[in-house]
């Protein structure tokens, strides 16, 4: 579904990603783990077209998408729930959700929009209760749900999640991740999850990659990574 080949990303003259290659198959949950500043977010931002200076190829469903603008990439079927949620805080929950449908919404398919919103409220009932509330007044967990929901509203086939667990209570994280796994099983959605919370990420994924200073140093199936000495030592604190 998504193939990244020797991707290099630059901020000014600094090379943040040094020839990263990875692939994600349809219906998988793939995780990318790594420390702060290792290039996790840069990779996601490169895929969605936010980094102006990249080289290499990014193939989405067989189509080269590197160098395309963000809004075109979103139209093709990739959505990002960005780091730090980035909600439109002075706007209502409902408006935030509707904004997610920007690229296909028109007056004629209002019904589809309503169905979509209903569906989101089934996934995250808490949001339904708060639909008129301003996004900025939600709790952290609800904001994260809204951020993911906004991404889902754009009907992605590939969902990119940038550290959804940041600053949330374990119970809420568990709730969100359970919903995501259910969603994946029901709709065959593909998820690329970037996380610092390695335990959690390895728990829900099928495969994973480990990134360090802009390079993929390790990749493998869930069990392989969980038992890998390096991963245990560096990320799970077990000797």
């Amino acid at each position: 579904m998504l193939t990244v080949r020797s991707l290099k990303s630059y901020y000014e003259s600094i090379c943040a990603l040094k020839a990263v290659s990875l692939h994600i198959e349809k219906g998988e949950i793939v995780t990318l783990i790594g420390a702060n500043g290792s290039g996790k977010s840069t990779l996601l931002n490169s895929i969605i077209g936010l980094i102006p200076r990249i080289t290499g190829t990014i193939l989405f469903e067989g189509k080269e998408i590197q160098g395309l603008s963000s809004y075109t990439i979103v139209k093709l079927g990739i959505a990002l729930a960005p780091e730090g949620r980035q909600l439109f805080s002075p706007m209502s929950v409902l408006d935030n959700l509707i904004l997610g449908t920007y690229h296909y919404y028109s007056f004629k398919n209002r019904q589809k929009l309503n169905d979509k919103i209903e569906w989101i409220f089934e996934l995250f009932p808490l949001l339904g209760k708060r639909k008129k509330q301003l996004a900025g007044t939600l709790s952290g967990g609800e904001q994260q749900m809204l951020s993911i929901s906004r991404a889902l509203m754009s009907e992605p086939r590939l969902l990119l999640l940038d550290e959804p667990s940041t600053g949330l209570a374990p119970k809420i994280i568990e709730n969100i991740f359970r919903t995501l796994t259910e969603l994946k099983e029901k709709t065959n959605l593909t998820i690329f999850l970037v996380e610092q919370n390695v335990n959690l990420a390895l728990d829900i994924c099928q495969r994973g990659y480990v990134i360090e200073t802009g390079q993929i140093i390790l990749s493998g199936e869930k069990e392989e990574l969980m038992n890998n000495k390096e991963v245990l030592r560096a990320y799970l604190g077990k000797e």
Binding site: S69, S70, A79, Q86, F88, P90, L99, G100
Partner: protein, 316 residues
Amino acid sequence: MNSLLKTSYAKACLTFIFSIILMVTLRNPYYVGVLVFLGIYIIITTGLSLLMGYTGQISLGQAAFFGIGAYTTGILTTKLHMPIILSFPLSFILTVIIAFIVGIPTLRLKGHYLAMATLGLGEIVHIVFNELLSLTGGPSGFGNIPLIKIFGIELDNDFKYYIFVWAIVSFILFLSLNIVHSRIGRALKAIHKGEITASTIGINTARLKLYIFVLGAGYASVAGFLYAHYITFLSPGTFSLRFSILLVTMVAVGGMENIWGAVIGTSVLTVLPEYLRFFKDFDILIYGIILMAIMLTRPEGLYGIKIPLKRTGNNG
């Protein structure tokens, strides 16, 4: 009924009805004249509100677009004796083209480059008006611009012109309110809040910013057209940077979060100087003090203010 009143159509109609009632009660041609100007300014500030308040882009060149609209129709009708029905679309199109030329490169950038580019445009236009003597008459301007005739009625007094201007104001408000409440309106607010995030949910931010900038310029051009055929005389002084800044101030004073804020701000800053004439030479001083008082007590603008005036901010 209540929801019907909330439609932009109803709001625009009510604005028009209110303006007519105002005219009938005032009756004094001078006051009506002031309100004609108010209508013309509201057309410009409505566009500026869409651009500044909703999209978060500052333009310091609205006076230039206002001027291009006014001068184009003025020159076409006096020098080329073109009928107004032709000069209006031509002046509108010329303004829109110039707005595109300025907007395309600057709105691709993030940040306040538009303010700088439009500042430059304002100066250029001002210089052209001053120096292109053969067409514009230079600093002393030119006159004898014909009056507008609709269905055989010549708009030759303040009352007729007032009705014409406010009908257009109502239409512009109708159009703008519809934009604000549409998917475009939501996208504009999204751009204001976070341009990068807006692009990651599928909004073509550069194009949308450009369209709304051009729309604002178009509004200013319409206002310029109305101005030229009302005053029938044009000189460069009207279209200076000072006026652009005044327009920005009107939107800021009224409240940037809402179209009605622009209407309120424009009304206050247009009508206030008339009341301050009572203070003779001190009027500008008092005008400044009132402006400062408004910005200190209502930094978010006058829109949504509670009457009677309550102090806010102490309740955390």
